[in-house]
Subunit: 165 residues, 8 copies
């Protein structure tokens, strides 16, 4: 296996290389908060061993939170969650049915194995990162302050938006 070179508290996995267009927004957002995530392709169906290895040995990689992006019958987040008690965040990627299939496959988990699902596509990828930061900020007041600043800047940007006449 092509081992991750660095450890990180957040691992972003995606079902196929084509999901990178969406998932890079999660990586960018994490980097804004000073977190450089593990970032790689790992398919629940085509590389089940790799997924079980990463999820089942999260401590070896320093991983505290998983973010999983997948489309269609999007099983990646659920399969990761089956192998770890770290929080798993699922990002449904747009597919044949506009992402409705991806969303339902990610969110409708049976009682006992939770997946924290966010919105379909790019907005969801960004929010997956923010959610991971919020989780880490529960015990990290510096990170919490960064989040409060992020929110404040976001608010001001919208308040100051000017629209065409």
């Amino acid at each position: 296996m092509n081992d991750p070179v660095s450890k990180s508290p957040v691992a972003i996995l995606m079902g196929s290389a084509s999901d990178h267009d969406v998932m890079q927004h999660a990586r960018e957002t994490l980097r804004q908060f000073g977190i450089d995530p593990i970032y790689r392709v790992a398919s629940a169906h085509r590389t089940p061993g790799l997924v079980a290895k990463l999820a089942g040995n999260s401590e070896d990689y320093g991983i505290k939170i998983f973010i999983a992006g997948a489309g269609g019958a999007a099983h990646l987040a659920g399969v990761i969650a089956a192998h770890t008690v770290c929080p798993v965040i699922g990002v449904p990627i747009t597919s044949a049915l506009d992402g409705l299939d991806s969303l339902l496959s990610t969110v409708q988990m049976p009682g006992g194995i939770p997946v924290a699902t966010v919105a379909i596509g790019k907005a969801g990828a960004k929010n997956a990162a923010l959610l991971a930061v919020e989780m880490l900020a529960i015990n990290d007041s510096e990170l919490r302050n960064k989040l409060l600043n992020f929110r404040k800047e976001q608010e001001e940007k919208i308040i100051n938006t000017s629209l065409p006449e």
Copy 2:
């Protein structure tokens, strides 16, 4: 693990004991054709090790075809398929969204790992069994004749149906 007592060419797995109401129709139909299947609960999310063991060692159990019933984010068929090159038949079980979530989670598999999906609920369970018999009948002319008889009886029963005046 609570090992299956007998070997069988067909294994029926289901995500939870509540799926038995639907999945028993698959077992009954197989028995009509003289096949007594392995029949047990195995959850993709709550017992990933059991699923990987059964799917990954199908030859040890004599299994040639898997039938998997699950509801909601129904990953069972897909997770089995990730561990075997035996044909895997998925039965979506009715859930919160009438089974639409179960259906999409089962059928929308990515290229490379197929799942043969049948109808939601009881009709699907029956057809999963028939489909398994059809697969086995490719090289078993006796079984093929049983199928032809089954079809003929089914046809006659409908032709002779009488409706209330």
Copy 3:
């Protein structure tokens, strides 16, 4: 305002008293892990002041994570998230459209304000609690061990399920 009598790291809010049937499963699960949550009705639409007060002053109540259950145009989780950087978990409650409306209203948040959405109904309520425990367990090895035990018991229970002949 009818102030919560005790502080808790987890607050469960729900849009109407009729949501209690579902949301009690979140409370029960948290109690299994030794957490007695704040638990009350608070509507995004009918009591916006109460929601803003609880979400905007989470530190006063010791709240580290919010769980919000609502149906229909389920805005509660999103409105809480607008007022806090604590993680917010949304539970869609079944409604006129089987909960599809509740799900989409909860999960499709715009980039910038995340909500961690779980499954519709009772399974989701249980998983919301487990997800909250997973978040708290990031920095609490005792809680992490409880989660690992919970998973192990859950796995064994399924492996030992016996189905009717």
Copy 4:
């Protein structure tokens, strides 16, 4: 806050600047009837304070009717409605799921806090404006006559349409 320079009986708010492409049709239609609306970005999630201020102090701005355009988990109209007893008209903006999520998030309000929802996208934006004019025309016979003229011209235009041979 970047205060509105003029007062108006109608305020058009939208969740993000990208909604302007749709919402400008509401502004144009209002201007056809001699009403120059307040027109600005205000997000239920990213600027909850701004929304509460505008909706909760509608009288200070002379606002009698709100029009709110938003996509995805479109909470804007509902959050405005929570803070005012002025009529609130919601325009669902097309999003990841073709606007079905926006529509359901806007229209499926709980009993007690109404939102008057119109069609998804441009047609809805135009109709939101017409609906606002109809409300104002209840007590304004001049405006009512303008509406009758608008309808008459619209009818004649369609009756006189010629189609290609």
Copy 5:
């Protein structure tokens, strides 16, 4: 025609007698605000003449606002709106497809003829009445005060809800 005995500023029409179960909630809510509405069955498809007469001659009946409840291919609100410039509020009634058909048939009006759509079923019927009151309150400060009281009582009731231990 079976003429309404009294005039009223609000007319509630419904496509069939079976819609009364839902629509009575609109009547009850209006009565709470001192308005006794015209209340009758009138089908867009089976009594087009009656609908055109009531909508086209609203002034004769003192009608200022229409509320229309219908299910399935719910054309009633749209057909009323085609004949009047009074605001028309549409209530989708649950039907074969859980009311999704009723909702889309009511809300997706073309640009030029608005319908103010509320939620499917009982909550929508109640909100249709509140929306009508909000429209009338634009120029009626006494009614506006009643609405403010209604909101206040509603808020207090929720704040004081106690849930089972």
Copy 6:
């Protein structure tokens, strides 16, 4: 009113000029069978008088069958059907929700007023014409023979299709 210059047994009406792209396929198909239909824009909502006039006086125009194309809250076919006992064929035109709204608004008619609904878009427009021809052919053996020829040619064309190697 801009009266039709010629009488025809089939009238094709459409809700807006933009529907011509789809509905011209109905006209073309009818012309293949020697029928030149009345063909014009007539909106259920924006020109209710025109629709009532054409539908209510079908005999004056020689109309035996109506074809109505509309999108969104597609009431046109239903409103025509309310005014005539001639068969009415509805063609749902693609709209904001891919035509699902158009389809449900057209097909889900209440018992008592039928609309014969065909597929969404171009295929539906062609089939609306064929369906009208089939109806007229019930009592016209020459037309019936043309249909049989049409079917035969269609069949041969498909049988002789060659696909790329």
Copy 7:
């Protein structure tokens, strides 16, 4: 084959005996107009020969119009239409997905083979019969008068409906 004892201009076929609950409403309505239809079970999938025989030899049975009721992957109407140029009316029967699957399987026919689809369930069955009568009435003024009377009585019944106070 269990041959129909009498000839009739209308044949009602249904995919299974369980569809009788819905389809009897089509038979009853036809009988109100003096037409006693052929009425029997015939499955597109389980009795393809029977369906091809009835549809391909419609003249032998005096059949001018087919009505087909089926649920799920409702192919019956389409398969009949493939074998005849008589008008075929499809009635979607409620199934696992509330009849959405039945509706789409019936209505979304490819260009070249039309099916006249009516509403899901009982209302659709009644309307299928009325549509058949409308088709026959194109050349039968007595039947046309019966339809006009039916409409008039239906209208009066609704106009005279009294609702509870």
Copy 8:
């Protein structure tokens, strides 16, 4: 009829020539495994005789498995299955409703006549071929080894994917 020049254990049929863009992926995948399939257009609706002939006489062509691709009211797989006890694999092709109609028309088969349904579009076409190979491999260890190699290469390719920095 334009007879197939060669016999093959797998026949790929598609409803129209436009389905070739998708279905060629099934042919390509089969060829990777050394199987050159029968490959032609055959419409359930427009060429019912051809479909019945191919499905009903599968032995004459050496066919052991059918793959059927169709869109909209996709009856092809079901109609083939009605005429054979060979396994039939259905590929839903994207259409007006993003392929949801094609999927439901293919998968929701009644008990008694199974269709093995795969994902919508290109991924489904590829998986249909793999599923056919899996069925043939039940009794062909060489083919089984090819499948195991295919899986291994697929896994390695994903494990070695490198993503942009």
